[in-house]
Symmetry: C2
């Protein structure tokens, strides 16, 4: 039972995840959480709400694991079978658990309702089980040891599961004995692909310590680089690897942890006591939305203009009819005038403007779908760049919005190096 | 082998989905696709890139299934083990497949590169296997029958998998014999929770035909209602259930299929040849972004204003200093003036304005976090409503942006009934 690498398996239940109507993100949450503590999940099994199949599966899992985490099936309806299945596998009966009943009644009471039969079903648990408190929802978690395997049953509601994980981990640690806690360090990057990043690392010929695992999670718009050590005695090596990557990737690294481009830009603005405004055409408000998703963004962001038509570019931002007719809406002169208009109309210190062809329609031989001009700057200087980034519409909007924020980040940091993605995708300069 | 309800199991491979660094959405895609054809997935197993564990698992799955779909592990690196594992389980050797090699070489050729050893590894497949063409990526899919079980190996890149599914289905049909094709009808709703919807259906005492399965997928901001028949002879019953739900939920139904609120609003605007502008405070550009994610949105949407500060509300939209100081930015008079300003500045036919407290900070006893005022209308009439919707910041922004679009939808449809979510969350009218 006590071992340095315990066998941990997950049993994920529910017709909605079997049918694909719901994408299971809970198992990823559990695996990430345990992984950051140095515990790996060995195997995951997913089943619908079929009592016979669930029982057979749980029996097999309990026989072959140190810990089984069951997720889902704790709710009040007849489809919620987990307590019944665990009781059957453990050979015990279902019994009302006093702590669980008190929890359900208190939960209902806070909502001004009396617990009904469906609510109280959630207090009917395998006899002799221990409770895992649920600080959010009405269904408590519970656990039982079956043939030396700890079976922990957790709720399918993601927020409730998340709130319960520290207690689940503590209970697992008690069961499997002490394990070696690891550590994960995440670097957020923008403008690097996974294969490019791997190639750069390989070409650098780093003397990489074997105890630091290198991982990549390519997302849109950011890519995460993950440095995992299975034992915290190796955190110095981990930090040295972080420093080595920072030398290699430098200004492509946005920050550590879960830092987003918008967060970083707002932090840099706050450090300067400065504000930013946006003037968006093809990204259609997405840059403003990314900024305002950040709590407290009102300190650095006061105004955004979504100028989707030529007429609005002129009437709201003062873009000249001449620039629009001579160069077109997707052009260097127009984005420069959009920045100037945004600075003037908002009184902000910095502004960013984008105008491009998101597709699928609207492209031409001269300006194909994916063509975009960006401008960013302040009253002293405005920078521009044209790119061609021909990907699906919403991905285009996401990447271009992020590229715009990245330009502002670079300007605020005083970085004058040209990012890699610009070199690969540059447009010829405007006529 | 040939049976009306074949046993279909999925084997999902990859360290990145085991660790939770990537959320597995591929298995949901496969299950949804097969489900719409009337084929249910029985069980899913997920494993990391461990050859011994994968081999044992695939052997067990092949013994207990009519079809196993393996996803992942087709790439060029040493971690991509699927061909090797299937060959071992089938007791055959790996051999270069001429069709696969030609595909890899042509794929590389189109990119102006010569296929290297890593690329060509993708043509080393279990001897005697059949190819499942990959119209997008370099790695073909492949399949082999092992002990009467069809094992189909598919790529982990979602776009490549999606492109391959019709052929996978055709191959499955050839293997398991004809099955009864089903049908799925989806209704998109806004403003209904799953439990409320179920209660309304139960209270209506409908004579629900047993052959029509009713399912719900609660998302943010929309909830999908799904009507599944396992045999297309029941589509009339399915259509009758759709009509019954339409009578029950009426104007909460946005549309069929995957219709979004933004799509519906843009379609209704196009039918009237009308345009909409947005004036956003707490949603920070999200309404504009939702609209502009829709291809062709430039026909109905020309201008959006993100007026995050009081000063910008005044300078850009002409909101009076008096209204701001007397009633505060989150008030009925201010959102009315925002709508009037947006109409005037943009020349649009309709406008929507929102101002609220998204949190986590900024609330007061009088106006707690979650307080929000909406206004929408045209030159003839402006409607308003105050709500309190105290949820996490980004969920608040999502739900309020959707509620704003829903108000416009209702106005464009001439619906004057009050939506259910307004009744539950209404504010007292402004002073």
């Amino acid at each position: 039972m006590s071992s340095t690498t315990p066998t941990i398996q997950l049993l994920l239940t529910g017709n909605e995840i079997m049918s694909g109507d719901t994408v299971d993100s809970n198992s990823a949450m559990i695996a990430q959480y345990l992984g950051e503590q140095g515990l790996g999940v060995t195997r995951k099994v997913t089943l619908g709400d079929d009592p016979a199949a669930l029982r057979t599966e749980l029996e097999q899992l309990a026989r072959s694991s140190d810990v089984v985490i069951v997720n889902g099936g704790l709710g009040p309806t007849v489809d919620d079978l987990t307590a019944e299945i665990l009781a059957a596998v453990a050979g015990v009966s279902l019994a009302e658990h006093a702590v669980a009943r008190a929890h359900v009644e208190s939960w209902c009471g806070r909502r001004g309702v009396v617990a009904n039969a469906a609510n109280l079903k959630q207090a009917l648990l395998p006899a002799g089980c221990d409770i895992v408190p649920n600080p959010i929802g009405s269904a408590v978690g519970f656990q039982l040891t079956v043939q030396d395997c700890l079976v922990v049953c957790t709720p399918g509601v993601p927020g409730e599961l998340r709130a319960m994980l520290p207690q689940v981990l503590a209970n697992m640690e008690r069961h499997i004995g002490s394990f070696t806690p690891g550590d994960v360090l995440r670097l957020q990057t923008f403008g690097l692909g996974e294969s490019t990043a791997q190639q750069i690392i390989a070409d650098a010929g780093l003397d990489w310590p074997p105890e630091v695992e290198l991982g990549f999670r390519a997302g849109a718009p950011q890519m995460e680089i993950k440095l995992t050590v299975r034992d915290r005695v190796h955190v110095d090596a981990q930090r040295q690897c972080r420093d080595a990557l920072q030398s290699l990737f430098g200004d492509h690294i946005i920050g550590e942890g879960g830092t987003t481009l918008a967060q970083r830009v707002l932090t840099l603005l706050a450090e300067q006591g400065a504000t930013l405004s946006t003037a968006e055409s093809c990204t259609g408000g997405l840059i403003a939305s990314m900024l305002t998703q950040v709590p407290g963004s009102s300190a650095g962001f006061h105004a955004g203009f979504v100028t989707y038509s030529n007429a609005i570019k002129s009437s709201v931002l003062g873009v000249s009819e001449n620039s629009l007719s001579t160069h077109g809406a997707v052009s260097e002169p127009v984005v420069v005038e959009m920045v100037e208009g945004a600075l003037a109309k908002s009184g902000s210190d910095y502004a960013i403007a984008v105008s491009g062809i998101a597709g699928p329609d609207g492209g031409s031989a001269d300006k194909p779908v994916g063509t975009v001009w960006l401008a960013w700057g302040n009253a002293q200087q405005v920078h521009t760049r044209g790119l061609c980034w021909p990907v699906e519409r919403t991905l285009f909007q996401t990447m271009i919005a992020a590229a715009g924020l990245d330009m502002v980040r670079r300007m605020l940091l005083g970085l004058d190096t040209e990012p890699r993605y610009f070199k690969q995708r540059s447009q010829k300069s405007a006529p």
